[in-house]
Symmetry: C2
Amino acid sequence: MSAPTGRITAVDTYDIRFPTSRELDGSDAMNPDPDYSAAYVVLRTEGGGPEGHGFTFTIGRGNDVQVAAVDALRDHVVGRSVAGLCADPGSLYRDLIGDSQLRWLGPEKGVMHMAIGAVVNAVWDLAARCEGKPLWRLLADADPAWLVSQIDFRYLTDALTPEEALALLSKGKQGAAGRTAELLRRGYPAYTTSPGWLGYSDEKLTRLARQAVAEGFTQIKLKVGADLDDDIRRCRAARAAVGPGIRMAVDANQRWDVGEAVAWTKALAEFDPYWIEEPTSPDDVLGHAAVRRGVHPVKVATGEHVQNRVVFKQLLQAGAVDVLQLDAARVAGVNENLAILLLAAKFGVPVCPHAGGVGLCELVQHLSMFDYVALTGTTEDRVIEYVDHLHQHFLDPVVITDGHYRAPASPGFSSAMHRASIDAYTYPHGTFWAADAASGEPGTDTEVHA
Amino acid sequence: MSAPTGRITAVDTYDIRFPTSRELDGSDAMNPDPDYSAAYVVLRTEGGGPEGHGFTFTIGRGNDVQVAAVDALRDHVVGRSVAGLCADPGSLYRDLIGDSQLRWLGPEKGVMHMAIGAVVNAVWDLAARCEGKPLWRLLADADPAWLVSQIDFRYLTDALTPEEALALLSKGKQGAAGRTAELLRRGYPAYTTSPGWLGYSDEKLTRLARQAVAEGFTQIKLKVGADLDDDIRRCRAARAAVGPGIRMAVDANQRWDVGEAVAWTKALAEFDPYWIEEPTSPDDVLGHAAVRRGVHPVKVATGEHVQNRVVFKQLLQAGAVDVLQLDAARVAGVNENLAILLLAAKFGVPVCPHAGGVGLCELVQHLSMFDYVALTGTTEDRVIEYVDHLHQHFLDPVVITDGHYRAPASPGFSSAMHRASIDAYTYPHGTFWAADAASGEPGTDTEVHA
């Protein structure tokens, strides 16, 4: 544990891209060829003290725009007291979302908002390192009133007041020690998307689905939405592979209009899909409510592209979702996700976070574990998404045992990448990309031995 | 008229900023010190043929991020056939919003979406120049089926189908010749925000309000939301200055939560506000619906920060607005605004566009004039915002006579700035900013004699 001293001396940014499109990892109905990428941020401190690491996940082109957006925040961060930031990350969060000129580019959505998320998450990583705790534990140990102080309630008070948040967190503390022990013993339930990418053959899908069950997962997910006949064939194959006792979610990645979402989901009903994910635009609160009415008893899930707490609030107010899929890096970091977890708790909707991408599993596990230990107190009907690629680039990668995320023990937010990975995959001049360009042949090696 | 030939050879971008914060022009409860700026785009064509000009409006910091976002679109544009673009601007619009990697940064919102709007509007400027018509006339003369082909109906069909759009546009054509003559004779009604900036003294407010009425305006607007006592005093002074027959809108620029919006608006009711604008988050469809129920008979208006057609659709579906304030440069350009105009027409909600900023008046007048001539056929309860600064930087500035926008006659979208203005205000190396930095004293001269 390092006592926080000194000031932030630099905000270093890196445009990191992995050539995942060459293997069709991550392919779905809207994203046929993603190159999983990260606009990566390192907060440096005086005298080589602890660093803070954070990032925005993107799928390739535009990662440079994300880096430019983080660069535009630098003046808000450099020179800040490390002790002040660690004591109150919310002070920076509020300054960033409140910058009256930058706010015009949102407000609180898209490129600028995700850039704020990267910086804010880096601050929480720094705070947890300084505290000598994994982030989930820092949050679970925190005073409820302090957690409430980390939230911006603007635009929320018609659904959640600071007083209600305090009551939920105070109640959540009861029995936390027992749940911490249980979490350390058992981990947090996961489900896996790895079998179901749209670009995979039926053979690969079936093999990976069986393997997932053998590894202890009780839920898998399939991408759908490009072609109905293909979806029926793939769902049939997957259901046959896993048997009736395994939950099988399907994910349309925003491919449909409202009417189409209802019709297509009903056409898959015979395979007993557990939820339909992203049936339509993530902006369409009323549309999701209509889809939910239309596809019952199939559940409706969304969230990975939901831009901020205001839209999550409405999804809950409108009864538009059965499952809330927050993302660690889409919104403005831990502070905004605390608000979203509290909204979900208030409305009694389970949170099953989006993960995958680059490092999203590493980040989001901390939020769900905090939620279990010190907010909702349950993992019932709650699972964190798991995708099995790119973890090797992280210093503290997620560990999955018997279908559960193990609780991280290292201080921080599990957000730091290996220096060798950064050096290799920085675009376009890192060693991988430079060699790739020089060879004239696309490579697919995403393994880095760091 | 130049026959469109050849290809797009370059997409040139400029970070243009005006030091408006030094005079408190444009100040409001959320934006105390804007430096009105434009991320400006010029499409160059082969052989020095006609150019296309477009831009995103911002209020200062972050304009560089907007420029980076336009730069990220360049590969989609360079090399395209000019004739192909002019015949079907929608082909580029769909490619840009559909780029599967860039889409991750939205989808269809914030920095990337506004950048797409700048490029798409530049294409329409080019198309109108090639056609030898002002844009409003190109749109009003167009075949309804072609206009329908320019719209992306994804996520809209639960509220508006292509068939309904075609019917609205076909009906809108009836009597268009007479309305064109009337538009050329009388212009399109305007209202003015120039008296009501929050940073202005009561004396300046009163003087400018009287002047607005003397100039023929029948509606003014005041910024509110920072301090209730101040708002009461300013509304009283403005109402006394203009008398009871003039509409007086108030604008909170997203300052409030739902409950506060209702209470504050009611506290101003004795001054007979015509509408309350942006009472809360532009993302909060359900919140606006609640505010509208609470403040009746004061109307609710929003739109300048509404991110895309999906949110506008919901504002209409939920009965959340009395007045729809589209912006020419917030969404993905003319194509998306055609969808928004059609949605408003379908739901019978008047469109009173947001303008001001840099060049927003110049752009948006074309959309309202098309709406009048060839879609809704009326200007009843419809007014375009007018703000009286920065027009001198445009080659074809708006002309206001007796409280009306005159119909533009020059070919194009009125979007081109003077070369001298671009050279002076390009940040940070243009002649104005270089001299400003060298002098050590902030200047306020925003006049450029081009």
